[in-house]
C-alpha cells in the first residue's frame, strides 16, 4: 500500500465522473450467437461479457446427471486478454469459485425439476474486465437463459455496492474495488423480492452494510430495466397488440 493514497471521490464525483449512487453506462443485447440456444452480450463500463446458453439437453458425461432434476453448469472464464497484465487462460481458483457462486445465484430462478437427467450449460466469457464482473455475468446469464426459452421464475439481476473514501457507493469499478475499503455484490430477483447472492469483501459496520445493501438493490432495479429493454428489443416487435392469430 502506498503511503499517499489517492482520493477516489473528489467533490462528490468519482474517478470516472460518476456520482456515488450512479451505475456505469450499461448495454445489453440478446441473441448474438446463432449457434447457441440463447445468448447475450453485456457492456457495463469497461466490462465486456459474452454469454452462451445450451440446453436443456442430455447430460454428458452421464454419471453427472441427476435423476430428479436438471443440472445447471456455469462456466465463468476470463479471457487471457481481459486484464492487464495478461492472465493465464487456464481456469483459476477464482474462476471456479465464481462459477459456483453465479450458479447458485441463478438456480433459484430456474425450474430444474422439470428436466430430470438433463443439463443446462451456461458459458460466460469475460472479454474485458473492469470490476464487478460476477454481477455483470449474472445479469448477462439471466438474459441469455430467457433467450434460450428456458422457463424461469424471475430474471436475476445483480449489482455491487461498497465503501470508498469512507462513503457508500454503487457499482464499483476495478480501481474502486481494489483500492476501496469494502465491496458488496448482490444478486436479486426483483419481482419476487429475493436476494440470491450476497457477499462481502472488506469491513463494514452494520449501518454501512444496511445502507450498501439498499443501494445495491436500487442499482439492481435500474439494471433490471435494461434487461427488460434488451428482451423487448429482440422480441417486442414480434407481437403487435391485439394481433395474435390463434390456431
Amino acid at each position: 500500500m502506498s503511503t499517499t493514497k489517492r482520493r477516489l471521490i473528489v467533490d462528490g464525483v468519482r474517478l470516472d465522473g460518476r456520482k456515488v449512487d450512479e451505475i456505469r453506462p450499461i448495454k445489453i443485447e440478446c441473441g448474438v450467437l446463432p449457434n447457441a440456444n440463447g445468448s447475450s452480450y453485456v457492456e457495463q463500463g469497461k466490462n465486456k461479457i459474452l454469454v452462451g446458453v445450451f440446453g436443456p439437453r442430455e447430460m454428458h458425461p452421464k454419471h453427472l446427471a441427476d435423476l430428479r432434476k436438471a443440472v445447471l453448469r456455469y462456466r465463468y472464464h476470463m479471457a487471457p486478454f481481459s486484464t492487464d497484465p495478461r492472465r493465464s487462460p487456464a481456469p483459476s481458483r477464482r474462476d471456479t469459485e465464481l462459477s459456483m457462486i453465479i450458479r447458485n445465484a441463478l438456480e433459484p430462478a430456474l425450474f430444474l425439476e422439470r428436466y430430470p437427467r438433463a443439463s443446462i450449460d451456461v458459458f460466460a466469457e469475460i472479454l474485458e474486465a473492469d470490476g464487478s464482473t460476477r454481477c455483470a455475468c449474472t445479469v448477462a446469464a439471466s438474459v441469455a437463459l430467457v433467450d434460450a426459452g428456458i422457463p424461469m421464475r424471475d430474471l436475476v439481476v445483480a449489482c455491487s455496492a461498497g465503501k470508498i473514501d469512507g462513503e457508500i457507493v454503487l457499482d464499483l469499478n476495478d480501481v474502486e474495488d481494489k483500492e476501496g475499503a469494502a465491496d458488496l455484490p448482490v444478486a436479486y430477483m426483483p419481482k419476487l423480492g429475493k436476494v440470491t447472492l450476497l457477499q462481502m469483501d472488506g469491513v463494514l459496520t452494520q449501518e454501512e452494510l444496511d445502507k450498501s445493501l439498499q443501494l445495491a438493490l436500487q442499482g439492481c432495479k435500474k439494471i433490471y430495466e435494461f434487461q427488460k429493454e434488451a428482451l423487448k428489443m429482440k422480441y417486442g416487435k414480434q407481437g403487435e397488440k391485439g394481433s395474435v392469430e390463434q390456431d
Binding site: 440456444n37 440463447g38 440446453g55 436443456p56 439437453r57 442430455e58 435423476l67 436438471a70 430462478a109 425450474f111 428436466y115 430430470p116 437427467r117 438433463a118 430467457v146 433467450d147 434460450a148 426459452g149 428456458i150 422457463p151 424461469m152 421464475r153 424471475d154 430474471l155 430477483m189 426483483p190 419481482k191 419476487l192 434487461q227 427488460k228 428482451l231 423487448k232 422480441y235 417486442g236 414480434q238 407481437g239 403487435e240 397488440k241 391485439g242 394481433s243 395474435v244 392469430e245 390463434q246 390456431d247
Partner: protein, 235 residues
C-alpha cells in the same frame, strides 16, 4: 358482491419471466406459475387472458416433447433393441425395433441396416417414459428415414404459426411453391423439391414467419410475399 379485479395487464401485452399477470381466482395456464395467490410469467411472450385462464404465448421456448407430435431427429446411437435419436429436446428419444419394423423382432436382425448412425428420421412420439425419455415410432404414413431435401431450423414455439389455422399457412405454401414440407414439432423442418429456387423461397418464407410470427394477416402477407418473389424470378 365485488368483482375481483384480477387481470393486471391487457391481452397480448409483452411480458418477461417474473412479470405478475394476475391475482386471485384465475387459473394458471401455459408458461405461467402460481405463487402465493399471484400468477407469474415464466417465458418471454404475450399474455393471454381467456375464460378464467391466464397463459403466455411464448416467443421463445425450448422443445418439450408431447405424445402424438411428429419430430425429426438424428440417430446418435444404435442399441441392441433400437436406436437413440437426438430430437433437440431435454433428453434423447428412443426408437424401439418393434416401433420401426412391421415384423416381429428376431435376434439376427442387423439394426444398422435399417437405420444407421447419422440418419435423419421422421418419427412420431408415442409415449413418454416415467423418466421423461420420449419413445418414438416410425410406423405410419410419411414416417421413416429422410432421403433428401433441406433442413431448416425454427424456434419450436413458432411451429404453430408455420402450420396456421387448420394448416392454412403450410397448405398455402405447398400450393404456391409445389414443395414437399415435413414439419417436426421440435423445430426442424424438412423441405424437398426438384426446383432449387422454390426450396430457397420456402427457406426465406420461414425466416419471414419466424420474425413476424405474431402479427395480423400473416398468411395473406406471406402469400403476397411468395407471389412477389415468384414474379421477380420470372423476370
Amino acid at each position: 358482491m365485488g368483482i375481483v379485479l384480477s387481470k393486471l395487464l391487457e391481452n397480448r401485452d409483452f411480458v418477461v419471466p417474473g412479470d405478475v399477470l394476475a391475482e386471485g381466482d384465475l387459473r394458471s395456464g401455459e408458461n405461467t406459475y402460481r405463487l402465493r395467490g399471484k400468477i407469474y410469467a415464466t417465458r418471454v411472450g404475450l399474455v393471454e387472458y381467456s375464460r378464467g385462464v391466464v397463459s403466455v404465448i411464448a416467443l421463445e421456448a425450448n422443445y418439450e416433447p408431447r405424445i402424438g407430435e411428429i419430430v425429426i431427429g438424428m440417430v446418435v446411437d444404435v442399441d441392441l433393441s433400437g436406436w437413440v435419436l437426438d430430437i433437440d429436446g431435454p433428453s434423447l428419444a428412443f426408437l424401439n425395433v418393434t416401433d420401426a419394423l412391421d415384423e416381429p423382432f428376431k435376434p439376427e436382425m442387423v439394426l444398422p441396416n435399417v437405420f444407421d448412425l447419422g440418419d435423419l428420421i421422421v418419427a412420431k412420439v408415442v409415449n413418454i417414459g416415467r423418466d421423461g425419455t420420449p419413445k418414438v415410432s416410425t410406423l405410419g404414413l410419411d414416417l421413416g428415414r429422410v432421403e433428401g431435401g433441406r433442413l431448416v431450423r425454427m424456434t419450436p414455439s413458432k411451429i404453430p404459426r408455420l402450420i396456421g389455422k387448420k394448416g392454412s399457412m403450410v397448405n398455402m405454401i405447398l400450393k404456391e411453391t409445389g414443395c414437399q414440407i415435413v414439419i417436426g414439432q421440435n423445430g426442424i423442418v424438412l423441405v424437398n423439391s426438384r426446383e432449387r429456387d422454390m426450396m430457397d423461397l420456402v427457406v426465406q418464407v420461414m425466416q419471414k414467419i419466424e420474425s413476424e410470427a405474431h402479427t395480423t394477416g400473416l398468411t395473406n402477407r406471406i402469400y403476397e410475399f411468395i407471389r412477389e418473389m415468384k414474379e421477380k424470378r420470372r423476370r
